[in-house]
């Protein structure tokens, strides 16, 4: 299918199915129940899942294949967002030109940064990319204020010029409201809500657009991974010298890889702007670069599905896990005697709520130490363990999904 082998096609289909059914899958608990706070099926968060998924897929094309650890990918994300915002402000509220321009702009910036940074490898490469991103961040927050809005950032306004307000269907600017980003008139914030018993599902246009783009991005990533170019990038990680003695000039390929990776980040940035039309310089800060590193490693660098899983997991933690507070814990542990409740709450509390970063840091360290292949590798280990246990018996549950992910 689509030039993919059976295994990859199945993986793509599973991901597509998950995107399609995400509003249902992510809302497994009925409204009003105690577990409802773990529901992640609201548009804002679902959009973030897929957008950061795109970001991580792109980062993985660089880091997962070639082993070049960039600490400056946030620069492309931010640049994409700014470019997208300007399209929304100047051209039309339609998101298509915004997304296209953000990808192109990020690609051009990646070309410049990559051209210089790729002269070095190893830690020098990491530091160079970090230096460039920090420079971009500092400039965006200060000198480039006319373009970036400085510390306040950019938002869409009522009096934005928008030279083609009706271009590609434009958007609605009824009765003096700020127009919302739209696709041929469909506003990104619009949703269709379905109530079924005590369940409530929200099907959001913005999410489905982002999801569709992520699927395309994922498909392209699979093609790259399975192409001779991808094979060669993996060889770069292994032995650049042998590649040179194989008649291949690695430089243009590395640059291409870096630019593609940057364009993914720009695409993600543009989508962020399109879903939520505001952007500030902090999107370029190195912590944002660090976040995508965490996502990719957590899920499994060099695997196809890993970065998407990692992105989803971190965003889920950030938005859901962090909301648990002491009171919630006391309810949970309420079944125990009082002293035990207090003890448990005291032990668990630092790791949840605002302390979720601590948990994240610990999990991340554990993954780097014990599971360099990330969660995907963990899943594969579990799966093979289960298979050995049952001697070819059917594997059910999450392990079965993991098994489909190719070993890299």
């Amino acid at each position: 299918m689509l030039g993919l082998n059976k295994k990859d096609a199945r993986l793509l289909l599973i991901v597509a199915g998950m995107v399609l059914l995400a509003p249902i899958l992510l809302n497994p608990f009925p409204e009003g129940s105690a577990m409802a706070q773990f529901n992640a099926g609201y548009p804002d968060l679902m959009q973030r899942f897929v957008i950061f998924g795109i970001f991580a897929i792109g980062f993985n094309i660089l880091f997962g294949l070639t082993g070049y650890l960039s600490f400056g990918h946030a620069a492309f994300l931010g640049a994409g967002s700014y470019a997208g915002m300007w399209m929304l402000k100047l051209l039309s509220i339609n998101v298509i030109p915004a997304i296209i321009l953000s990808t192109v702009v990020a690609g051009i910036i990646a070309l410049c940064i990559g051209w210089i940074s790729l002269r070095r490898s190893g830690i020098y490469f990491s530091i160079l990319t970090l230096a460039f991103a920090q420079m971009a961040f500092a400039l965006a927050a200060s000198v480039l204020t006319p373009i970036t809005g400085g510390e306040t950032g950019l938002q869409t306004n009522l009096n934005d010029p928008r030279i083609f307000p009706e271009f590609l269907g434009g958007g609605s600017s009824v009765d003096g409201n700020i127009p919302k980003p739209s696709l041929f008139g469909l506003e990104m914030t619009d949703s269709y809500e379905l109530v079924l018993g005590s369940w409530e599902w929200t099907f959001n246009w913005g999410f489905y657009l982002s999801g569709l783009i992520m699927l395309c991005a994922f498909y392209v990533a699979i093609r790259i991974f399975r192409s001779p170019f991808g094979l060669m990038l993996k060889a770069v990680k292994s032995n650049q010298q042998r590649l040179n003695y194989t008649g291949l000039n690695t430089k243009p390929y590395m640059l291409a890889c870096f630019v593609i990776s940057g364009m993914y980040a720009g695409l993600a940035g543009g989508l962020m702007a399109a879903m939520d039309p505001q952007v500030g310089a902090e999107r370029m800060q190195w912590t944002a670069s660090g976040e995508v590193v965490l996502m990719t490693i957590l899920g499994g660098a060099g695997t196809l599905i890993g970065p998407v899983l990692g992105a989803g997991l971190i965003k889920y933690f950030e938005n859901i896990f962090s909301k648990i507070n002491k009171a919630t814990l006391e309810v949970w542990f309420g079944i125990f005697p009082d002293w035990m409740t207090d003890l448990l709450v005291t032990i668990v509390y630092p790791f949840i709520g605002k302390g979720w970063h601590l948990t994240l840091g610990l999990i991340f360290m554990a993954i780097v130490i014990f599971l360099p292949g990330g969660l995907v590798q963990g899943g594969q280990k579990l799966a093979s363990f289960a298979r050995r246990d049952r001697k070819g018996g059917g594997v059910e549950g999450p392990a079965a999904d993991q098994r489909n992910t190719p070993a890299e």
Binding site: P228, L231, M232, A235, K237, R242, L243, Y245, T246, L248
Partner: protein, 253 residues
């Protein structure tokens, strides 16, 4: 006129003259061995052929083109492949992938890696890679990770990678170093067989005299940076200067 013509090559590192006026001519379709005691400058010379080092003076001409001042990948594109003393392979990839990369690179002489077509659906490359692995007798190890191979297998793999590009000239840096006796013999057989079948020109650096004399059609002897003899194997065997260089009985004038 040989396929590889080396003329008056000099190379010094600081005060050490590693190569002095080296002249060498490798005839097309032959196996040419370069021997010499330790520190004679064999590896330096080989590095000058592949662009890793640039000689101070002199010329290295391959097939009518100068090899000086061009990058290793361009030298390879011109038709020179090299097997290293310690095998240089893609350790993280499978044996099959290792062989596929040079096949892809060499296809149509384009040296381009396509970013869209699927590797696994390219029957032509698959056939070629399988053929190469069969040739070096490693087809049963095609799905192993290259880093888990034995040293001899790694070298055979590297040879397969080089041969898959059908080079005009194959440079081998001590191809049997560190191999077990049986492996050494099979490697000799392999090289002979390849040479007869494909008529690939080879230049071999080797310590093992047994290997040299069973393979080489012509031998150059390097000592202290200069070529002291270039002749047929039998003539080399009886050359007094060579004996002297190896036994080190007297200083040379």
């Amino acid at each position: 006129m040989g396929i590889l013509e080396v003329q008056n090559v000099n190379k010094s590192f600081g005060g050490l003259k590693a190569l002095q006026n080296v002249n060498l001519s490798v005839e097309e379709g032959t196996i040419h061995a370069i021997i010499g005691p330790n520190g004679a400058g064999k590896s330096t010379l080989l590095n000058c052929f592949v662009g890793k080092l640039v000689p101070d003076t002199g010329s290295v001409v391959f097939n009518g083109e100068s090899l000086l001042g061009i990058k290793p990948y361009q030298i390879n594109q011109a038709g020179v492949s090299r097997v290293f003393q310690t095998p240089e392979i893609f350790a993280d990839l499978t044996v099959f992938e290792n062989v596929m990369i040079p096949c892809f690179a060499k296809r149509d002489g384009s040296f381009e890696m396509n970013g869209w077509r699927s590797v696994s659906k390219d029957a032509e490359i698959h056939d070629r890679a399988e053929q190469m692995l069969t040739d070096v007798n490693m087809i049963d190890k095609r799905d192993m990770t290259a880093s888990s191979l034995s040293r001899g297998d790694k070298r055979r793999l590297e040879m397969a990678m080089c041969l898959s590009q059908s080079p005009k000239l194959l440079l081998l840096d001590e191809p049997t170093a560190g191999m077990a006796r049986a492996d050494t013999e099979s490697t000799i057989e392999l090289l002979k067989e390849i040479q007869e079948r494909l008529k690939i020109t080879m230049a071999i650096i080797e310590h093992d005299m047994g290997v040299v004399f069973s393979l080489a059609q012509k031998i150059s002897v390097l000592a202290q940076g200069t070529v002291i003899a270039e002749d047929l194997p039998d003539a080399i065997r009886s050359n007094p200067k060579v004996k002297e260089a190896y036994l080190g009985t007297a200083a040379e004038d």
